[in-house]
């Protein structure tokens, strides 16, 4: 593989708002460059987790190398680096972008620019990438490419007049995109003879090869036998194999040199040693300094995860450990709850990340989980001067020991058509948003800017946003540090007993409303039992809301069906199965899904 002409390499990514057709375009590019036969081509090749394909989102960045014979008769190597599409994975996106020299911006011909379009474009421009717009979905009846082109020029300020008008779904005009890539995206530079300097933009764990590190070689060359140093973690390993990415497979090659994108394996056992954003260099001939931009990603959202069947605790631990091999941003540590027994407090990048991990645990590891309400990390400033990072509401110190508390906030940008500005501002107000300003994108659309507490958006903000704008609002955010806030711990008492797994931290002003709704919700979820069950919400010793589950008075199968005992048995078995899904708290049986009910307080 030596002697690849740098000028024939194009490293690029595709950026887009969710649903604007990023993955479909990626599929077409792969298809048209002849890497795969049609038979091998499954819709959305790059999204290779079942879950990704089902949800139509990209979770892990994927990368593929194809060869394109251009109109000038030359063959070009395309390294297409797919990026995760969700704000939870913003850092991964930024590292993926850093591995590219240019970006294709896909914009929906009907919807135009959305909040994530902007966020991604700015991110790409931050990385000095040449952004090349493409207008997709021109087959839609509502497509208005002219409007979208001028929107791109006006709002983003990049030239879009000659943007290819395509339909990735139908395969229309994709060739124009390929030619544009050759002409518009710059070739990489860098000296193959310099000391090695390579950016890690992803890694996966493989049972046979150990950790497979995805990297972009900025300077120098790496091959089998090179002793590499991970500059942030200081791990040193000898390279076992280098190669590049086929579709869904790894193809070994001799060496990777400056300008190339590929993978490196070095019998590394844990992805934690290979952090995204870290720089790889030659341990024997190191580069002067690491590439910029590395940061350690920390979980933003925490929740408790418990096996529904207490005996599966060890299984849950094993499963979490396996997932962590592939996902360095997943964190967990053991915790116990009076109500739920033994489990783990797990940290995630965001709510989507949480949901994905939860689903994978349930599907791939066949675990039945009880998840407590997700929360954020609060900073508790104690009167004795200590600062405590609180991830589990149960650990909140006594109010007398607390001086004040801080909560994480985000800078949120919401793109919305003007008719929904009112309802969306109301929503942000309800969620304790601090209005920062509004920009009109054009006459019909505006960009609203708010500072919002993270704990107000982790549950159902996205759903509320969609429902109040009939699906038209889009949303993006970035972390914006901590702010002092009047927070209280809301406790839930079931039959006069505090249920630790139901406690949550909430702002003082919304505590009453939240407590009331929580009680109502629990009343629906907790089945009637032999005695009356009071459900109360309390702050400290003060009860702020109450509901009552009435006692069960009648539960009898009056008629038995002749000799057909099986029906009777089935009924009883169903009842017994229901009991199994209950958690005993004091005298009361609480169904597992009640522990998640705090998530659904806004269901109307």
């Amino acid at each position: 593989m030596a002697g690849i002409d740098q000028s024939k390499i194009r490293n690029f990514c595709i950026i887009a708002h969710i649903d604007h057709g990023k993955s479909t375009l990626a599929d077409r590019i792969i298809e048209k460059t002849g890497l795969l036969t049609d038979r091998e081509m499954q819709a959305q090749v790059l999204d290779n987790m079942d879950l990704e394909r089902e949800r139509g989102i990209t979770i892990k960045a994927q990368t593929v190398r194809t060869v394109y014979k251009a109109e000038d008769g030359e063959e070009y190597i395309f390294n297409l680096i797919d990026t995760p599409g969700h704000v939870d994975f913003n850092y991964e996106v930024s590292r993926s972008l850093a591995a590219c020299d240019g970006a294709i911006l896909v914009v929906d011909a009907a919807q135009g620019i959305e909040a994530q379009t902007l966020a991604n474009v700015y991110l790409a421009l931050d990385h000095d990438l040449d952004v090349m717009p493409v207008i997709n979905k021109i087959d839609l009846p509502s497509a208005d490419p002219e409007r979208v082109i001028s929107e791109i020029e006006d709002v983003i300020g990049i030239e879009a007049e000659d943007a290819p008008l395509i339909s990735a779904k139908m395969g229309t005009n994709v060739e124009a995109v390929l030619e544009k890539i050759v002409k518009k995206i710059p070739a990489p530079n860098g000296d193959p003879a310099s000391p090695l300097q390579a950016l890690i933009f992803d890694s996966v764990y493989d049972a046979y090869k150990g950790v497979i590190v995805f990297c972009r070689i900025k300077e120098g060359t790496v091959k089998k036998g090179t002793r590499i140093l991970m500059m942030a973690t200081q791990a040193v390993e000898e390279v076992v194999e280098v190669g590049y990415f086929g579709a869904g497979q790894f193809i070994p090659c001799e060496e990777l040199s400056a300008g190339m994108v590929g993978y490196v394996t070095a019998s590394i056992k844990n992805v934690k040693d290979t952090r995204v954003g870290d720089t790889i260099t030659d341990a024997d001939r190191p580069c002067e300094k690491p590439l910029p931009g590395y940061k350690k990603v920390n979980p933003m959202v925490y929740c408790g995860m418990y096996p529904a069947d207490g005996a599966k605790y060890q299984d849950l631990r094993d499963a979490l450990e396996k997932l962590q091999l592939n996902d360095a941003s997943l964190q967990f540590e053991p915790e116990t709850s009076v109500a739920l027994g033994f489990g783990f407090r797990c940290g995630f990048l965001g709510l989507l990340h949480l949901e994905i991990i939860q689903e994978r645990l349930e599907r791939e590891y066949n675990l039945d989980l009880v998840t407590t309400a997700p929360g954020v990390i609060y900073k508790v400033y104690k009167t004795n001067g200590d600062v405590m990072e609180l991830t589990n509401p149960s650990n909140l110190p006594d109010p007398s020991e607390i001086d004040y508390m801080e909560e994480p906030v985000v800078n949120a940008e919401i793109m919305v058509t003007t008719e929904f500005i009112g309802p969306i501002m109301d929503l942000c107000q309800e969620r304790r948003g601090q209005y920062q300003g509004m920009e009109y994108m054009e006459t019909t659309r505006a960009l609203l800017k708010y500072v919002l507490p993270l704990n107000e958006i982790i549950y159902d903000f996205f759903d509320a946003l969609k429902s109040r704008s009939r699906g038209y609002a889009s949303f993006d955010y970035e972390m914006a540090g901590y702010q002092r806030s009047e927070l209280v711990k809301l406790d839930i008492l079931v039959n006069k007993e505090e249920v630790d797994a139901l406690s949550f931290i909430v702002h003082g002003e919304t505590a009453y409303e939240r407590g009331r709704r929580m009680c109502e919700k629990l009343k629906e979820e907790i089945p009637r039992q032999l005695f009356e069950i009071p459900i109360q919400a309390a702050i400290g010793s003060k009860i702020i809301a109450r509901e009552t589950v009435k006692a069960m008075r009648k539960d009898v199968l009056a008629k038995c069906y002749g000799g057909d005992i099986s029906r009777k048995r089935k009924l009883l078995e169903k009842q017994k199965e229901g009991k199994k899904r209950m958690r005993q708290v004091g005298n009361v049986e609480i169904p597992q899904k009640a522990f998640m009910s705090v998530l659904k307080l806004d269901d109307k």
Partner: protein, 380 residues
């Protein structure tokens, strides 16, 4: 002939799956059928009965129950052939209980006399309510006037053991309305009263309708009233939904709760034979074609292991007000009931839903009302 001492007791259930019209709450296996289908079914049933000739040698039949559907829909000659065939195949104990279910409106004087002469000695009448508006709501075909006429005819024909089915908890029913029903029933002085409460079953017309049902508290009150009022008039509750004058409990049904052997004949009929449960096919065509070969029509065969036997022993036995006997448990499973069920027994004794007395464990009044909850805890 096999020595009589070698025989085991056996109950027979015959299913007649026809109804003039399906009631709005019914999810039993029944349909209208025409005369030709009824005749074909009778023939198939006769074939099935005689196929048990060998099997029958080892058993003595203690009771027969002709259930449905509406068995009284068959004409007298069809019923006669069925009874005749039963007697030829099985040895039926003298004075054994032979019940037929009948719906008012399908009975007349001649039919009732014919039943008597066939040896049918117990009549179970599906009245459900003395109020015509209730009957209409339930989708019943008869009026209470027709019932009164049939009832008198039955007495005149010589039936001295009659059951009346009554249903509580029907839409718009009030406690007072239910009380009037009970009072009218006791005035007629049947030997046995089955008082069910309406259960809305999936797949029935009622399931799809928005019904105004009596609130739970009222239903519970109806249930208590039933117990008290009937007791005042000499009816003892012996099972969750059954009340009888002394000596008139339905022996056949008690056999189900005590897990006696029973053989179900006819479409979809269920059996328990020597700890194996099975049901006949519910497929009409298959049944008609293969009824002469019972092994071909058996389905859902399940040999009960000890665990399942114990579970059934408990949840069926607890339906009876006398409950279960500790000695009976030891006799059946060679261990003490506490060895297996200490935890739920203690739990429900302390909650006051079970009571233990004289070597028996039974549901309290409160426990009967919540019996599903209690019984489900006896599944292992």
């Amino acid at each position: 002939m096999i020595n009589k001492a070698m025989t085991e007791e056996l109950e027979l259930y015959l299913h007649i799956p026809f109804c003039l019209k399906k009631c709005s709450y019914c999810d039993f296996l029944s349909f209208q059928g025409n005369e030709a289908e009824r005749e074909a079914y009778t023939e198939a049933l006769l074939k099935e009965i005689s196929a048990y000739k060998e099997f029958a040698l080892e058993y003595e039949v203690t009771s027969v129950f002709l259930g449905g559907g509406t068995p009284s829909i068959l004409n007298a000659s069809q019923m006669e052939r069925i009874m005749e065939s039963l007697r030829q195949t099985f040895s039926i104990r003298k004075l054994g209980e032979i019940t037929i279910e009948a719906n008012p409106g399908t009975l007349n004087r001649d039919k009732l006399r014919a039943y008597r002469s066939m040896g049918i000695n117990r009549l179970s009448m599906g009245l459900q309510s003395f109020k015509n508006e209730d009957l209409k709501c339930l989708g019943r075909i008869h009026t209470c006037e027709v019932f009164a006429e049939n009832y008198e005819q039955a007495r005149n024909a010589g039936f001295t053991n009659i059951n009346i089915d009554l249903m509580s908890g029907i839409p718009y029913q009030t406690l007072q309305g239910w009380e009037e029903n009970l009072r009218q029933a006791v005035k007629l002085a049947p030997e046995h009263i089955s008082a069910y409460s309406l259960i809305i079953e999936e797949g029935t017309p009622f399931y799809r309708q928005k019904l105004t049902l009596p609130p739970e508290e009222e239903e519970r009150a109806m249930y208590e009233l039933t117990h008290n009022l009937l007791r005042e008039h000499g009816y003892l509750q012996y099972e969750i939904s059954n009340y009888a004058k002394p000596g008139y409990a339905c022996r056949h049904n008690v056999g189900y709760w005590k897990r006696k052997n029973y053989l179900g004949l006819g479409l979809g009929a269920a059996s328990l034979i020597r700890e194996v449960r099975f049901s006949n096919t519910s497929d009409w065509t298959w049944y008609l074609e293969h009824s002469s070969d019972p092994w071909k029509i058996h389905s859902q065969t399940e040999a009960l292991d000890e665990k399942k036997q114990m579970e059934e022993f408990m949840f069926l036995g607890l339906r009876l007000t006398e409950g279960i006997g500790r000695q009976d448990f030891i006799h059946a499973f060679h261990k003490n009931i506490e060895d297996v069920y200490k935890q739920p027994i203690d739990k429900y004794l302390s909650l006051g839903l079970l009571e233990a007395q004289n070597g028996r464990i039974f549901l309290t009044r409160e426990g009967i009302s919540l019996s599903n909850m209690v019984m489900s805890d006896f599944l292992l």
